[in-house]
């Protein structure tokens, strides 16, 4: 086969190349320096390189079998990095889940190659992608990966987990022929969005919060695919990859930020009316700017899926805007904040619209029929559930239902009782000490 058909250099693969190279530039030098004290530091750094290289190949591969090959290479590199950096505890759940994902993908490739059986191939693809994206019930492997060092997490959340999204976007032509697969995808994604969001809200440990937030983000990205918003999914995947990998690398700065907050002047107490005013000043201009720019420039359709997407973006910019406005020292400062947020929203909407046009990704062939009503209903349900959770927190934070959700949120990620190595009085064994030369077989 000529090499030209092995790899493809479409706008999407170029965008993904930018992502992976950017992540590599951030993670590899970081890993080299920060793992200087860890025994397997060099091995882990090399494995991270392998993870990112394999992700790159997934993005560039034009043939299903090459995608699967790169995918399995990524799995192997990930498991090596987890095992070297985090010991047995890091791979105990990751290995079975990831291997199942690989098997599903290879089976899908085989189904595609033999032709026919579209439903089967599409469902297998969705299974592979759901596991890779840590959608519940597979989220446990990503939680356990925290046993491995920070740069491994950074590469995982910036690179590996995106594999699921890349796969489904590139195979969207197949996927959209199967309402069953789209429905399953919508279900996995909706559960991931809700569960991940609740988990991230209640966790107090910084890395646990980041992991569960990734579960929610990947769920949102998969939901976009289920709704046919493939370009939005691709853009989300890339931006989130940068976002999450950077947050992991900086995850030790919590003490700095707490000190900075103590150093900052006390927040001025506002009257309820003043509060409302501030929130309006911070949020409204940004939301208006976002909506107007998007309506004017967005190259996609103007249907319900797009409206939901716009709603999510508006919620984000509104929250950021009102929080900054509340923290601003005076009303003029708050007005400046509102103007800045509006500017940022305009820029974001314009750039996103432009990139969406450039990507020129396929959506549903017949956008009126779409992928059926199921994903749409699930998406609406998921977003309503998020709104309900937010309302519940405000209205009855210690009510029975709220406490039940709290309890569930804290249980996400599983227990690992009797399995994970522990550092308490009765930890399993000193064989677990990966660094300590004392007592190691000297």
């Amino acid at each position: 086969m000529p090499p030209a058909s092995l790899l493809s250099l479409e706008p999407l693969s170029i965008l993904l190349l930018v992502l992976v190279v950017g992540i590599a530039l951030a993670v590899l030098p970081y890993a080299h320096r920060s793992l200087r004290g860890d025994r397997h530091g060099v091995g882990v750094t090399v494995a991270i390189g392998g993870m990112l290289a394999a992700t790159d190949l997934i993005a560039l591969a034009a043939q299903p079998w090459l995608v699967a090959l790169a995918w399995s290479a990524a799995t192997i590199a990930t498991l090596v990095a987890l095992r070297l950096g985090g010991g047995a505890a890091a791979v105990r759940r990751a290995a079975p889940w990831l291997v199942v994902g690989d098997l599903a993908l290879w089976a899908a490739v085989a189904a595609i190659a033999t032709g026919g059986r579209t439903d089967l191939a599409a469902v297998l693809l969705v299974v592979a992608a759901g596991i890779r994206c840590a959608a519940p019930p597979a989220h446990g492997w990503l939680v356990d990966s925290l046993h491995a060092p920070t740069p491994v997490s950074s590469a995982l959340h910036g690179g590996i987990v995106n594999g699921g999204g890349i796969l489904l976007i590139s195979q969207f032509a197949l996927l959209q022929q199967s309402p069953l697969a789209l429905g399953l995808l919508g279900l996995l994604a909706a559960v991931a969005v809700v569960a991940g969001t609740i988990g991230a809200l209640v966790r107090t440990d910084v890395k646990g919060r980041l992991v569960l937030s990734t579960v929610a983000q990947m769920g949102f990205m998969l939901l976009c695919i289920a709704l046919g918003l493939t370009a939005a999914a691709a853009l989300h995947l890339v931006a989130h990859g940068f976002y999450k990998s950077a947050l992991f690398l900086g995850s030790s700065d919590g003490i700095d930020r707490r000190a900075a907050d103590r150093r900052a002047p006390a927040v001025i107490r506002l009257s309820p009316a003043g509060r409302r005013g501030r929130m309006l000043v911070g949020a409204l201009p940004a939301v208006l700017a976002l909506v107007v720019t998007a309506l004017a420039l967005y190259p996609g359709g103007r249907g319900l899926p797009e409206a939901l997407l716009l709603l999510v973006m508006a919620a984000a910019i509104a929250t950021a805007g009102y929080r900054a406005a509340l923290a601003a020292r005076t009303l003029p400062h708050a007005l400046v904040v509102g103007a800045l947020a509006a500017g940022a929203a305009t820029a974001f909407a314009a750039v996103t619209s432009a990139l969406t046009g450039l990507l020129a990704l396929p959506s549903f062939v017949d956008s009126a029929a779409g992928g059926g009503v199921v994903p749409l209903v699930l998406a609406v349900l998921a977003l309503s559930a998020l709104a309900a959770v937010a309302a519940l927190r405000g209205l009855a934070p210690t009510g029975r239902l709220a406490l039940r959700i709290l309890a569930l949120g804290h249980c996400l990620g599983g227990s690992g009782a009797g399995r994970a190595p522990r550092t308490g009085a009765a930890r399993p064994a000193r064989t677990a000490r990966s660094l300590d030369p004392i007592g190691a077989s000297a």
Partner: protein, 813 residues
């Protein structure tokens, strides 16, 4: 029987048992202001051997390095046969009295060591049977994670409303993952923590006499969270050990998991010489310490140097911190500078409130409590600068608040990641590639370019109090006749980024904060005319031209920055410029010395640029902190001036002749010595058991608010120091050694203080520190043990000590 007791009595009883059980571990101070502490502090009085025998194993930890590690030191030549033989003889003499010593008196060193090594090396002081964490530990640590740092969650568990135990009861009784019967039992448990504990204890059917021990074992299963709860109980008081135990025991009863049986006492195994595991460890430990003690003591003079140094052009007062030794040595080599050592809070037991800050910080040793609050204010006329500072700080907070938007509203992060991700990518890549180059210095909470400020001492302290403070400072420092026109009080701090353990590198005497504010306050008091007039009346004459300045030593870059020179007349700026120029040269020399030890640091000419490491977000070794600390020298600088103590010694200035009533020495032995021991013990235990008493590798740390870190996604809170504070890939950088305390004072005076002050007696009699004083003959030393003073024999020749120890591996990595 106890069931017949009235309820109140039963509850009080449960509380008392919990209090006794809590003594299984020392409080852990968290990371907002990290404080070094001996993890087995409650067992201080029983002494180090007893701690190795019971306190450390009770935590599932070991109190000394493993036999195999010690043997490796012997094989590697770090411990010599002669040193080991001497330690064996000393141990036999102390265990078996004169008979024990006589038993092996005729045996040659080599033969003795052979007999010592012949015994099969069982791992000394290993914890009992390691048992896997059970369901109870899992649920308890998960609850601790949620409830002890609620401020870190966007949606916290309701501890503020219901308390630690009450909130757990509320959440657990609706937890769908609990068995229905367990949920019912939890719902029926008493609403108050102490009553619940009493009820659960009764349900276990344990005899009253065994309860405290059983609770102790329960707490020891999660030493980290227990230690943190102890600290919270002492400070904010919003959670107590009773709460922790109430959750634990109620859970046991609800899940029908009975308390584990008490472990049976292990049979004591003795080696060919009749030594048990603890005694063997003490032998090895003494042998390991011998060479370092020899090396340091051979350098410290027992009498003043012969020639008197020229009058200094400036006198710099540094913190006793071991890192000050290096900068003092290099600075003194640059010119006519005198230096002395003093606790880095300079006697200012204050709560410090930075300009416009929303919170004050207690900048003083944790042994003391703050007596006043001093606020930073802009100098008259600087209001414009002050306002711009406030605006900048508020803008920073607004920015952080916006960035944290995902935390506040369910669903907001979905879009937020997409909006901000495009900015994070380039930022992260440039931070990783530039590695601290081309970025601005300073920490997020140290705003640069603020207005000129002063600390408002007069509002905080009356002139009488200022006078009393000034007198204590000068007398304890032994500076009753200031000898230089310029006296610089140098605090210290560490500038690092993305470092959860950053406050562990700051000044412990300032409560885990930077030292500059305390230095500024002390200088302001000592410059005050009213104070100086009062001091003169009390016999301390400060010449009018003497000026006190405040400065700060950054321990990452070794740069000394003058933070307050307002008292210096403009025409005398030249003196300061000359001093600062010399300080820059001293810093360069010290950087080169330190770079040889730091993993991945560039060595060689042209400056090592260590300050870049502090700004690198990937740097896990910004500096070595107090690693390799081994001794404290309490005496005049003339005893140690000009010699290289390798940044291993705390130096506290003390002039025995000026301190006739022994008041200053008592202060030093009861405070700075204790603090030095805490630090020494923290490093020691973190090094001998990095898994339980140390915090493990920084790279897998997972911060929980300001409480501390977990390793990975769950489990116990980690106490102690991270691996990157004590070792490298090649092995330990910090040698676990007990503190050598060199006290240059009359023996009777030391004895008197040991008699009066229990804390000093505990340290000396308990073998936690090796306290020596100059002997009658020049060059000899005497050691104080619980049996009194005895010559401290140094087994090897000085030249051998000079030559032999340099385990400093330059890490290639």
């Amino acid at each position: 029987m106890t069931t017949l007791l009235p309820t109140t009595a039963r509850i009080l009883r449960a509380r008392a048992d919990a209090e006794i059980a809590a003594n299984v571990i020392a409080p852990y101070y968290g990371l907002d202001a990290a404080i070094a502490v001996n993890p087995v502090l409650p067992s201080l009085r029983e002494g180090m051997p007893a701690a190795l025998r019971s306190a450390a194993p009770a935590l599932g930890a070991r109190g000394s390095a493993g036999e195999s590690w010690y043997r490796a030191q012997l094989d590697g030549g770090r411990i010599s046969t002669a040193e080991l033989a001497a330690a064996i003889r000393a141990q036999l003499a102390s265990v078996r009295g004169a008979g024990g010593a006589a038993m092996v008196a005729d045996t040659a060193d080599a033969a003795l060591v052979e007999r010592f090594l012949a015994t099969s090396p069982h791992e000394a002081l290993e914890a009992g049977d390691p048992t896997a964490p059970d369901e109870i530990d899992e649920q308890l640590t998960r609850w601790c994670r949620a409830a002890l740092a609620p401020e870190a969650a966007a949606w916290p568990v309701p501890v503020d409303e219901l308390g630690f135990y009450g909130a757990w009861r509320a959440v657990a009784s609706v937890d769908p993952r609990m068995p229905r019967s367990a949920r019912r039992r939890i719902e029926e448990a008493p609403a108050a923590a102490d009553a619940a504990l009493a009820a659960a204890l009764e349900a276990t059917g344990l005899p009253a006499g065994d309860r405290a021990d059983a609770l102790r074992r329960e707490l020891a299963r999660t030493p980290g969270w227990t230690a943190y709860v102890r600290w919270r109980a002492q400070t904010s008081g919003d959670v107590e050990v009773v709460d922790l135990l109430a959750v634990r025991l109620t859970l046991r009863v609800a899940l029908e998991m009975p308390l584990p049986e008490a472990p049976t006492d292990a049979r004591v195994v003795r080696d060919a010489l009749g030594l048990d595991a603890v005694e063997r460890a003490l032998v090895w430990q003494a042998a390991l310490e011998a060479r370092v003690h020899e090396r340091l003591l051979s350098r410290v003079r027992t009498a003043p140097a012969d020639e008197t140094p020229p009058a200094p052009s400036a006198h710099l007062v540094f913190c006793i911190d071991v890192r000050s030794e290096g900068i003092r040595r290099h600075l003194e080599a640059q010119g006519p500078y005198a230096t002395s050592g003093f606790a880095g809070f300079f006697g200012i037991a204050a709560e410090v409130e930075p300009l416009a800050a929303s919170a004050a910080s207690a900048a003083l040793p944790v042994l003391l409590s703050p007596r006043y609050r001093v606020s930073e204010r802009p100098v008259p006329g600087a209001w414009r600068g002050a306002r711009s500072l406030v605006d900048r700080l508020a803008a920073g907070r607004a920015w952080r608040s916006a960035l944290k938007a995902p935390d506040s509203v369910a669903g907001a992060p979905l879009g937020w990641a997409e909006m901000t991700g495009w900015l994070w990518g380039p930022v992260a890549a440039s931070r990783s590639i530039l590695a601290g180059a081309a970025t601005r210095g300073g920490r997020a909470d140290d705003p640069v370019g603020g207005p000129a400020t002063l600390f408002d001492v007069d509002s905080a302290l009356s002139v009488e109090d200022q006078l009393a403070t000034a007198e204590v400072i000068l007398r304890t420092m032994g500076m009753t006749t200031p000898d230089a026109p310029l006296i610089v009080l140098v605090g210290h701090g560490s500038t690092t980024t993305n470092n959860a353990y950053r406050t562990a590198l700051d000044c412990g005497a300032c409560g885990g904060h930077r030292g500059a504010p305390n230095a500024r306050i002390a200088a302001a008091i000592l410059n005050s005319e009213a104070v100086r007039a009062g001091l003169a009346a009390r016999g301390i004459e400060i010449p009018a031209e003497t000026v006190f300045l405040a400065a700060e030593h950054d321990t990452v870059s070794d740069a000394i920055t003058i933070v307050d020179s307002s008292a210096l007349p403009a025409e005398r700026r030249g003196e300061l410029e000359a001093l600062l120029a010399d300080a820059v040269r001293a810093a360069e020399e010290l950087q080169a010395e330190r770079a040889a030890e730091l993993p991945g640091a560039r060595t060689g000419a042209g400056g090592s640029r260590l300050e870049r490491r502090g700004r690198d977000w990937a740097q896990v070794y910004p500096e070595w902190g107090l690693a390799r600390n081994a001794a404290i020298v309490i005496g005049p600088r003339s005893r140690t001036a000009g010699v290289d103590l390798e940044r291993r010694a705390f130096l506290h200035s003390y002039d025995a002749e000026a301190d006739v009533d022994g008041q200053a020495l008592e202060t030093i032995l009861t405070a700075p010595l204790v603090v030095a021991h805490w630090i020494n013990a923290q490093y020691y235990f973190s090094a001998v058991d990095p898994e339980v008493l140390g915090a493990g590798s920084k790279t897998v740390h997972n911060l929980v608010g300001g409480a501390g870190v977990l390793t990975g996604p769950r489990g116990d809170l980690r106490i102690g120091l991270p691996w990157q504070s004590i070792g490298t890939r090649a092995g330990l950088h910090h040698e676990p050694l007990r503190l050598l305390a060199v006290v240059d004072a009359p023996l009777e005076r030391i004895d008197g203080i040991i008699q009066r002050a229990d804390i000093v007696a505990d340290l000396v009699h308990g073998d936690w520190v090796v306290l020596v004083a100059p002997g009658t003959e020049p060059g000899t030393w005497v050691r104080r043990t619980r049996d009194g003073w005895a010559p401290y024999s140094l087994t090897i020749s000085t030249s051998a000590a000079e030559a032999a120890v340099n385990p400093d591996e330059k890490e290639a990595a």
